[in-house]
C-alpha cells in the first residue's frame, strides 16, 4: 500500500466522508466488474458491491493500516458476490440470470471480427471452473498480483500460480482449436 492510500485509509478511519468516497471511486470499477463476472447479473452485482463497500467501511476501524487494502476489500466483494449468486441460483432472488451485456456489442473501435474473437474468448473464460476462473478474474479485472490473489483466496501462492497457468493453457488451447475448427467443452 503506498503512502497516499495509507493516508486515505487513515482519514477514512477517522470518519472523513470525502475519504470514504475517494476509496469508493478508486475501487468501484474493478469491484463492480468482478461482481458482475461472478454473478452475471448487473442488479445483483450492484447489490453485492454495495454490501461489500458498506461492510468494508464499517470494518475500517479494525482494519490494520499496514495491510494492503485491495486484497482485503476484493475478498469481501468476492464473498458477497458468491453469496448473492448462490441465493440467485437457489431462486431466492427474482433476477434474471446471465443477462446480456448491453454494451458488449457496442464497441465502435473494434472490428466485427475482433469483437467476435473477444466474445468467444469471454465464453471460453466462463466455461472454466471456478477454481481456475476466479484467479484469472482477480489477475485481469482486479489487477492483483499473484501474491495478492493468494492472499485474497487464502491459497498458497504456488497454487495460484499453477491455476493461472492451467487457465491460460486451456484458453490458449481453446483459441487454437477455435481457429482450427471449434471445441465446446472446457474444464
Amino acid at each position: 500500500m503506498d503512502l497516499a492510500e495509507r493516508e486515505l485509509i487513515k482519514r477514512a478511519k477517522r470518519g472523513e466522508h470525502a475519504a470514504l468516497e475517494e476509496i469508493f471511486r478508486l475501487h468501484l470499477d474493478s469491484a463492480i466488474r468482478l461482481a458482475y463476472l461472478v454473478t452475471r447479473n448487473w442488479a445483483t452485482a450492484e447489490d453485492a458491491v454495495q454490501e461489500a463497500f458498506v461492510q468494508a467501511f464499517r470494518s475500517l476501524p479494525s482494519f490494520q493500516e499496514h495491510r494492503p487494502f485491495k486484497p482485503w476489500f476484493t475478498r469481501i466483494v468476492i464473498n458477497k458476490a458468491k453469496r448473492t449468486k448462490s441465493k440467485l441460483d437457489r431462486g431466492h432472488l427474482p433476477y434474471e440470470f446471465e443477462e446480456e451485456n448491453p454494451h458488449a456489442s457496442l464497441n465502435p473501435e473494434g472490428s466485427a471480427l475482433e469483437r467476435e474473437g473477444l466474445d468467444e474468448l469471454f465464453t471460453a473464460i466462463n466455461k472454466l471452473d471456478d477454481k481456475h476462473r476466479l484467479p484469472l478474474l482477480l489477475k485481469y479485472v482486479a489487477e492483483l498480483t499473484e501474491a495478492e490473489i493468494a492472499q485474497t483466496l487464502r491459497l498458497p501462492q504456488t497454487t495460484v500460480k499453477s491455476r493461472l497457468y492451467t487457465a491460460r493453457q486451456r484458453l490458449k488451447g481453446y483459441l487454437t482449436e477455435s481457429e482450427g475448427g471449434g471445441r465446446d467443452e472446457f474444464r
Binding site: 470499477d29 466488474r33 454495495q50 458498506v54 467501511f57 473494434g110 469471454f122 484458453l171 483459441l175
Partner: protein, 190 residues
C-alpha cells in the same frame, strides 16, 4: 495482441457497467449514516423506577412489618339467649302485690351450721335499707324447685328480696341464697 491483452480486453468488453457511480454512492452513503439511536431513556427509567419500588416494598416489609391480621370477630351471642337464663341485671319493675319469682342458688354448706331458711324484704331508703318483712320458709319446697314465688309489697318503692339459710337434701347440708331487686310501681290512679 498477446494472450494477456486478449483476456483482459475480452473481460473488459463484456463487463461494461451500465449503472451510475453517483447513484450507487448515494445508496452506500445513506447506509453509512449513523441511524438515530432509539432513546433508551424511557426504558431505563422504567426499569429503575420498578427497581426502586421493589426496594421500597422490601425495606418496608423488613423495617416495618405489618401486624398479623386480626381474626374475624365471632358473631356476638344474641343477648336474648342470656336473658332467658339470667335474671335481669337491673331492678325489676313490678306492680303492687304482683307475684315475683326469685331464683335460688344452692351449694354445699362450708360452715356446717344449720340455719332455717328465711325471706327478707329490704326497702331501700335514702340513707340505709330497712327490713320491712321477714318470714321463714319451708326447706323442702326450696330444695325441690330452686325457685321461690314472692308477692311484691303494696307500697311503691325500691326493694331487695333476699333468701338465705340452709336446707338438708339427701343427708347433705346445702346453703341456699337468692337475691332480687324490684321496684314497685305506684298503683294506677294513686
Amino acid at each position: 495482441m498477446n494472450l494477456d491483452e486478449r483476456i483482459r480486453e475480452a473481460l473488459r468488453a463484456n463487463s461494461q457497467w451500465p449503472g451510475s457511480p453517483d447513484e450507487l454512492w448515494q445508496r452506500i452513503s445513506s447506509q453509512l449514516q449513523p441511524k438515530p439511536k432509539r432513546s433508551r431513556q424511557p426504558l431505563w427509567l422504567g426499569t429503575a423506577a420498578a427497581a426502586v419500588l421493589v426496594l421500597v416494598f422490601v425495606f418496608q416489609a423488613v423495617w416495618n412489618p405489618q401486624p398479623p391480621p386480626l381474626p374475624e370477630a365471632e358473631e356476638a351471642v344474641p343477648m336474648r339467649m342470656l336473658t332467658a337464663v339470667l335474671p335481669p341485671s337491673g331492678p325489676q319493675l313490678v306492680q303492687p302485690g304482683e307475684v315475683v319469682e326469685l331464683t335460688l342458688d344452692a351449694h354445699l354448706s362450708s360452715q356446717g351450721t344449720p340455719a332455717p331458711p328465711r325471706l327478707e324484704i329490704w326497702q331501700e331508703g335514702d340513707a340505709e335499707e330497712v327490713l320491712v318483712m321477714e318470714r321463714g320458709l319451708s326447706g323442702g319446697e326450696l330444695v325441690e324447685t330452686r325457685l321461690l314465688t314472692v308477692q311484691a309489697p303494696e307500697e311503691p318503692g325500691s326493694y331487695r328480696l333476699v333468701v338465705r339459710g340452709t336446707v338438708e337434701e339427701q343427708g347433705q347440708l346445702l346453703e341456699i341464697y337468692g337475691e332480687k331487686s324490684i321496684v314497685v310501681a305506684a298503683a294506677e290512679g294513686s
